[in-house]
């Protein structure tokens, strides 16, 4: 017995030993994320510290056979914590977040082509006195620019090891990991001594002395063999930041991104859609007919499929954003947009989340972190769900096909109009918010314009895979739970055919006579959903939606689409007796009548439905993600309130005005 216990001891011992942590820090644009990606591949995990919403990635790397935890901290220009991201970096380094004594060591990434600016942040990091290794990144680019950097000199003055690398081309990475291993074994000089060189506590501006020190050190250690020259970047900048050309350039690039998101993504989306349909069919064939089969095929596969089908768009979106960011263009786009967006109380950087919102509001909320100021970010998040996301497209397509059957031109114009209408409304609403509930000036633009670089496809790929996972992780559970709840509401209680009222008995018999078993099944599904909880709820709340021209079935659709907007289409297909096939839906909708025999989908009702879906916050998963971001339910609750009210009032006005006009003329 004692033998067994003693055998167990070393195991317990090793699990108590936490791996040592290495913080990866550097200026934005120093290539920190690229280095993290090549050092860890796709093994990283995204996490956030309790009490913060800024995610960071971490991964285990093995140095000399020992696992170490590498933490990728947000890029920062200083340890002042001037943005939520910089705050996280500062707090982790100072031990206010995460481990009490801070990370065990620091891997500091410096951009060799912009040494002065990077050394300013370095001086603050080195003053922390932690074991530090400097990775002098983009050395290939520095050499191409004719910069010769004296590594020995830098090492001597910084008081720590310096390894020149190119993260992008994988140059010298072995040497880097080797030196990192040596640092962790405490074989090389531990505490750096650069602090002696900088007078941080003088009465004047500490940044003035830091910059003086940094530029002196750059002069001593860098030889510029080309001398002063006009960089290519400057001529590109003259064009892309031009008052008018700049806007044209922005519009072209955004149009290109849109085409990729909607045209290119359609192929994998169709594939995914058919895969899910196929697996539902396959499972349906295996399982006996009944509640379990319905739960798995409709609730589970339907719910998961409904979410995953958007992944190609989200992937392409993040891929494009990463490419634009790495190329240096994203900063210019924020620069160009700032002048326009400032007028409605949004910072220039808000264009990134607003662009993303056209694919899906959830990744848009995730990317809203690029905005430093909390109030600016809040006003951006409040209007994100107004952008026309992909989930609205099936609803729009249905409505447009009902109003203009077979008229492609008018259908296209209505679509474009809906997009533009949503954007204009969102900007107006932001304008109003900034003068009422979110008073105060929008933070003025101060942004580094990094040099133009050819972006790395590999890095963009890694980042977008990572972000796509994050989307599933953040929204997946909510979407799944919601679709299961809605499945339950739409399925139970299951009224047996015999228990249906006589009107339905007649209709069922008639359906069976004329259309056989298939028609009977469709009619039965229609009858059962009318008597399900969802159907009863729809009838109960129908009076609320009556002024908008919605019948009880449309009301059910509105409730059901709260899991995801596009669900309304499949709900209506069942409720109007079109069966599972959506192809027959338009015909069924056009013929649908109310108890008085009047057509339901008249032009006013269609228009009202269109307007309602432009404005309504019909997406619970987005609300959940916003709550996660803002750490409070009050803002998402407010958002739900204002958007629903806006949707209701505008749909009501649309219905009343168009009914009046049609009657009159």
């Amino acid at each position: 017995m004692t033998e067994a216990t003693s055998l167990l001891l070393p195991v317990i011992e090793s699990s108590v030993n936490e791996p040592m942590t290495i913080a990866l820090v550097g200026n934005p644009n120093a290539g920190k994320t690229t280095l993290f990606n090549v050092m860890t591949g796709l093994r990283s995990k995204t996490a956030n510290y309790p009490g913060t919403t800024i995610d960071h990635r971490q991964s285990t790397i093995v140095l000399d056979g020992t696992p170490h935890q590498l933490i990728d901290l947000p890029g920062a220009y200083s340890l002042e914590g001037l943005s939520p991201e910089e705050e996280v970096t500062r707090d982790v380094l100072l031990g206010k977040l995460g481990a009490k004594e801070g990370p065990d060591a620091i891997l500091l990434v410096l951009d060799a082509t912009h040494l002065t600016r990077n050394l300013v942040f370095a001086s603050q990091v080195l003053e922390l006195g932690k074991p530090t290794l400097v990775a002098l990144n983009m050395i290939d680019e520095a050499e191409r620019d004719g910069l010769q950097i004296d590594i020995e000199q830098l090492q001597a003055e910084l008081g720590c090891d310096v390894v020149s690398i190119s993260a992008r081309y994988g140059r010298n990475l072995d040497a880097l990991t080797q030196r990192l291993g040596a640092l962790m074994r405490r074989e090389s000089k531990a505490a750096p001594c650069a602090s002696a060189a900088v007078c941080g506590g003088c009465g004047g501006c500490q940044y003035a002395s830091r910059y003086r020190w940094a530029s002196d050190l750059t002069h001593r250690s860098v030889q510029d063999s080309f001398g002063e020259r006009t960089r290519v970047g400057e001529s590109i900048d003259r064009f892309v930041t031009h008052r008018w050309f700049g806007l044209g350039c922005f519009a072209l690039l955004m149009a290109f991104t849109f085409i990729l998101i909607f045209w290119l993504a359609a192929f994998p989306m169709e594939f995914l859609d058919s895969m899910f349909a196929l697996s539902a069919q396959w499972v349906g064939a295996w399982l006996p007919e009944g509640n379990l089969q319905s739960l798995i095929t409709e609730g589970l596969i339907g719910g998961v499929g409904g979410m995953l089908v958007f992944l190609p768009q989200i992937f392409i979106l993040f891929f494009m954003i990463t490419l634009l960011e790495d190329s240096g263009y994203l900063a210019r786009a924020a620069f160009v947009m700032d002048r326009l967006m400032y007028r409605v109380g949004l910072p220039g950087k808000a264009f990134v989340p607003l662009l993303a919102a056209h694919a899906c509001a959830i990744p848009a909320v995730m990317t809203s972190r690029v905005i430093d100021d909390r109030r600016d970010r809040l006003s951006t998040i409040l209007i994100i769900p107004l952008m026309t996301c992909s989930a609205r497209l099936p609803v729009f397509a249905m409505v447009v096909a009902l109003i203009f059957p077979g008229n492609a031109l008018m259908a296209g114009l209505t679509f474009a109009g809906a997009y533009a209408f949503a954007i204009i409304a969102a900007l107006l609403i932001s304008f109003v918010f900034r003068r009422t509930i979110l008073p105060g000036k929008t933070k003025a633009l101060v942004i580094e314009l990094p040099p133009y670089r050819v972006p790395s496809l590999r890095n963009a790929l890694t980042t977008s895979i990572d972000q796509s996972w994050l989307f599933i992780y953040k929204a997946g559970t909510t979407i799944l739970v919601f679709s299961l709840i809605l499945w339950f509401l739409a399925t139970f209680p299951k009224t047996e055919p015999g228990a249906l009222p006589p009107v339905w008995q007649d209709r069922l018999a008639q359906a069976e006579q004329t259309g056989g078993t298939e028609a009977y099944q469709i009619a039965l599904a229609q009858a059962q959903s009318e008597y399900s909880i969802a159907g009863r709820m729809g009838k109960f709340i129908q009076p609320i939606f009556a002024p908008l021209g919605f019948d009880w079935r449309l009301s059910v659709g509105v409730i059901n689409s709260f899991a995801a907007r596009e669900v309304i289409v499949s709900t209506l297909a069942v409720l109007y007796g079109a069966g599972d096939e959506e192809s027959g839906l338009l015909g069924s909708l056009q013929q649908a009548t109310n108890v008085h025999g009047e057509r339901i989908f008249t032009v006013p009702t269609c228009l009202s439905l269109l307007i309602f879906y432009i404005f309504a916050m019909q997406c619970f998963p987005t609300l959940v993600v916003i709550r996660k971001e803002l750490k409070t339910w009050s803002w998402p609750a407010f958002q739900f309130g204002y958007m629903t009210l806006l949707a209701y009032v505008s749909a009501w006005v649309t219905f009343q005005v168009s009914s009046y006009l049609i009657e009159r003329y």
Binding site: S78, T116, Y207, A208, L445, I447
Partner: protein
Amino acid sequence: MNGRSLADLPAKTRGTVAGFELPDDESLRVRTLGVCPGMQVEVVQNGDPLILSTAGTRIGIARRIAACVFVDTEH
């Protein structure tokens, strides 16, 4: 405050930062990026926002901030 406002400088003008008339948080933001007393800056492109060159990099800066940064120009 001595010197001319950054926003008044034509493109391709260099100067040395003399001081600010900005709230603390705004001034800290520009100072961490290298627009701090004693640093040489060059207006690369004037407009709103305008482009500055300092410490070997270019930064975009809103005109209303640039208007409150004062520089001594070279003669």
